[in-house]
């Protein structure tokens, strides 16, 4: 078991290295220069009148005049030490920026995952358990709507109805739980839709298995069959999905946080990409990659607990 975890952690480190290296390469391949952006140069932006020597001085102070391989190595070295330097645009230490934004995004992500899992699982069960066929297919089709409607559209409808018209929730900001409800719901709905689809499908597959027939022959009721027998077997793909959803929620946060004008990691990401703020982007890639690796490791470790048929090999296979 310990060997497995160690092996996975080594894999994880490799994934992380690949992610930061790739992002470094992409950032330097994409046209656009952070110094020009800082000086407001380029078409349609604020332009200013600065001498070439002054520009070079600024470039040197940011370490951007060094050869690319050197920049890459010093970045890797710093990443290992969790030192990501300072943001080009604000001058603030990157870790401070992210630490400040993190609580808002974490609470948004947790609440939205909670809502997504609750409604997704609820809808999947309703779509199989309801005694009347048209009601079941109604639930099934609402989940399709959930999947297909983009979260920004849901966000707009929610703001429109519940904030602007009814005034129940504030439209923007980070002030307390009320300001968290709308963004969490709009972020949760597409996730819940996908979850309900996958879980519903696996439940239906599981219900067709011979062991269900056996259980039914032994006199088990509909609910017992579903909860005791079908769900356990059907939940493996769903768990894999929840692992991936963490990434989805982080990505969704960029949109949701912008619409709801919330402080958070998603907003930082958008601003950093706009400004070619390398230190910030690289730190974000590092942390998002790390989180992803970790969550998927946890999910893999939970599998055998849910389904004893899955055996984690301890020996080198």
């Amino acid at each position: 078991m310990r060997g497995y975890v160690v092996r996975r952690l080594v894999h994880g480190a490799f994934v992380l290295w690949a992610a930061v290296t790739l992002s470094f390469a992409v950032l330097h391949l994409v046209p656009g220069d952070p110094v020009s952006i800082m000086l407001g140069q380029g078409e349609g932006a604020d332009v200013s009148n600065v001498s070439a020597a002054q520009v070079e001085a600024l470039r040197a102070s940011l370490g951007l005049d060094r050869p690319l391989p050197l920049q890459y190595l010093s970045y890797l070295w710093n990443a290992v030490h969790l030192d990501f330097g300072q943001s080009y645009s604000t001058g603030e230490p990157v870790t401070t920026m992210i630490a400040r934004a993190l609580p808002a995004t974490v609470s948004l992500a947790l609440l939205s995952l909670l809502i997504a899992v609750a409604t997704g699982v609820g809808a999947a069960i309703a779509a199989t358990l309801l005694p009347w066929a048209p009601a079941r297919s109604l639930f099934l089709s609402t989940t399709v709507v959930g999947v297909s409607v983009p979260s920004f559209w849901i966000a707009i409808l929610l703001i429109q109805l519940l904030s602007f018209r009814l005034g129940w929730f504030p439209a923007v900001g980070n002030d307390g739980l009320t300001s968290l409800v709308l963004p969490a719901v709009s972020l949760a709905i597409p996730t819940a839709g996908v979850l309900a689809q996958v879980l519903g499908k696996s439940i239906r597959t599981a219900l067709g298995e011979p062991y269900i027939l056996t259980a039914r022959a032994k006199g088990a009721g509909r609910l017992r069959i579903l909860l005791r027998h079908a769900i356990r077997n059907a939940s493996i793909p769903t768990m894999t999905m929840i692992g991936m959803m963490v990434g989805g929620v982080l990505a969704g946060a960029t949109i949701t946080e912008t619409i709801f004008a919330r402080q958070g990691v998603g907003r930082i990401t958008v601003d950093a990409i706009n400004a070619h703020d390398f230190p910030v982007i690289q730190a974000l890639v590092f942390f998002a990659g790390g989180l992803y690796v970790l969550v998927n490791l946890v999910v893999d470790l939970v599998y055998p607990k849910v389904d004893p048929r899955i055996v984690v090999r301890t020996a080198m296979a």
Binding site: E43, F164, N174, T258, I259
Partner: protein, 549 residues
């Protein structure tokens, strides 16, 4: 030299803003509104106290107006500190502020400012000639870290402290634009204690100025809270209230999404918003609970710039024909809901050097066709596009950033308009424009936007002097350059305007610019608010503002 973003920066999405605001505004009964292009909104009797909630369209990322050229930063800087002079938005005249009077030497190289004696910074330091000197020296140290300000004081030689309240600023070369620059927030005066601090710390809020408000806090991505300074007594000449502001606080919240910003206003969650989308203007106008304030900006009219080095655009007749083939009214109506005025010259009416050249900017496709034929584009191919004797098609490419933006919609409409005179306008949206000097751009036409309350904006944009911002860089028009250099050598307004008028006529005659429309800064304001005003480049002045509870 402030430039408005012509195209929005990349946004996560484009929300149909009008749809959003409709419901919130549906309580309107269609009575009279008070929109117009006055620079102040309705008022009865001022009330003291309260917090004004104002929605910003973008995160300033810094609160030091010397360091960052962006309008959002200067807007906050305007509240935190004052400038040596102020500019009258109506006449463009430079008015006394922290400097009660000034003299400029004949050769426009020495500027002597006589300062107010009763001013203090919010950290208690008195304002004097030493403070002025310390600010200019800081800008020199910042260099490219203060891009706007360093350009304004290019050729700075030194400041002499004549006496405690007289500062003499010297330049190596004539620098006539410096007087107007002294009215900008890029040269706003900060406390001598602030200027010695780490610029990054100042950016993030460790700042002290002479302004009517002090910074209570800046929370990145959330907003800025300003607190009234009770002993303030030297307000801008534009403010009626010379003493402390009426409001206790101004709560500036960042709401980047257009539709959400408008909706937050119409549902009463904020009291005023900036950058009202043109599509929402009509809805807000109909609603009696709000007023609109549209401030014309002292800028260049938003132009198409034909690159004179493009092989098909070397002939001035072709460039002129493109202008004649442009139906500006149709563009403004279709893309900007009829809100922005069509261009009537190279500069907007709000620029002090504006010359009315509207007659040169009429829509005349027949004359356009005649000019194109004279220039050798005589045959029309099967696809409706003109061809010259060598068989080349009259195809012109524009590269730009951002799809689905009003700017792109404008390009699409212009594509149809120019098709009618046989010109193929090719649209190439890009992720990012090439980082090249102005004479090397690998396409034929670009757009530009630049705001400044001085005719010197002509020199910046239409000379051949600056590699990244002058449209004729590398391909000088000697006569035009000479006129524009002349602007720097005299501070006599009438003389400068005469020179500027000649330059503007030449720019249009040679087809260096194809002005399209004039930008406005549009604000939406709740009727609870009175005394809301903006300065010459559309930054609010909160000193007169008050809010009914």
């Amino acid at each position: 030299m402030h430039i408005r973003s012509f195209r929005p920066r990349w946004r996560v999405l484009i929300v149909p803003a009008a749809v959003l605001s409709l419901a919130a505004a549906s309580c309107g009964t269609g009575s009279q509104n008070t929109s117009g292009d006055a620079r102040s909104a309705s008022a009865t009797e001022p009330v003291r106290g309260g917090t004004l909630k104002y929605a910003l369209a973008s995160d300033p990322e810094c609160v030091d107006p010397q360091q960052k050229p962006q309008i959002s930063v200067r807007m906050i800087g305007r509240q935190l500190t004052d400038s040596l002079t102020e500019q009258d938005p109506e006449t463009g005249e430079i008015l006394p502020w922290l400097a009660t009077s000034w003299e400029v030497s004949e050769d426009a190289r020495r500027f002597t400012f006589h300062l107010r004696k009763d001013v203090t910074f919010s950290d208690g330091t008195p304002f004097d000639a030493e403070a002025v000197k310390a600010n200019f020296e800081r800008i020199l140290r910042l260099g490219a870290g203060a891009p706007q300000a360093i350009g304004f004081i290019a050729g700075y030689k030194g400041t002499t402290i004549v006496d405690k309240y007289t500062a003499e600023v010297d330049f190596e070369k004539p620098n006539a634009q410096f007087l107007q620059a002294s009215a900008t927030q890029s040269l706003g005066i900060l406390s001598p204690k602030t200027v010695t601090k780490d610029p990054k710390a100042v950016c993030l809020g460790d700042i002290s100025g002479t302004g009517p408000f002090t910074l209570e806090r800046y929370t990145p991505q959330q907003g800025v809270v300003l607190k009234r300074r009770d002993d303030y007594a030297w307000a801008s000449p534009l403010a009626k209230n010379k003493g402390a502001a009426y409001l206790d606080r101004v709560d500036l919240r960042i709401i980047p999404e257009n539709g959400v910003r408008t909706g937050s206003l119409s549902s009463g969650q904020v009291d005023a918003i900036e950058t009202v989308p043109t599509a929402d203007v009509a809805t807000l106008e109909k609603n009696p609970g709000f007023s609109l304030l549209s401030a014309p900006l002292p800028a260049i009219s938003i132009p198409y710039i034909p690159h004179v080095y493009s092989p098909r655009l070397r002939d001035a007749r072709v460039r002129r024909a493109l202008s004649l083939g442009l139906n500006r009214q149709e563009i403004v109506n279709a893309i900007y809901a009829g809100v922005y005025p069509v261009a009537t010259g190279v500069l907007t009416k709000a620029n002090p050097g504006y010359a009315n050249l509207g007659d040169n900017l009429s829509y005349d496709p027949d004359q356009a066709v005649r000019l194109l034929e004279e220039a050798g584009w005589t045959k029309v191919g099967k696809d409706g596009i003109r061809v010259n004797a060598k068989g080349e098609r009259l195809s012109l490419e524009i590269q730009y950033v951002g799809t689905g933006t009003p700017a792109e919609q404008m390009h699409q409409l212009v594509q149809q308009q120019w098709k009618k005179i046989g010109v193929d306008f090719v649209l190439k949206p890009q992720k990012q424009l090439p980082d090249l000097t102005r004479d090397k751009l690998p396409y034929d036409i670009s757009t530009w936007s630049q705001t400044r309350g001085d005719v010197d904006v002509l020199r910046t944009v239409y000379s051949s002097f600056f590699s990244n911002m002058s449209m004729l860089y590398g391909h000088p028009d000697k006569a035009l350059d000479q006129l524009l250099t002349g602007l720097q050598t005299t501070i006599d307004t009438q003389h400068r305007n005469e020179i500027a008028a000649k330059a503007q006529a030449r720019i249009l005659d040679q087809g260096y610019a194809i002005p399209v429309y004039d930008l406005l800064a549009i604000f939406g304001i709740s009727k609870r608010v009175g005394g809301f005003k903006v300065d010459t480049d559309g930054k609010p002045i909160f000193n007169d503002a008050w809010k009914r509870s």
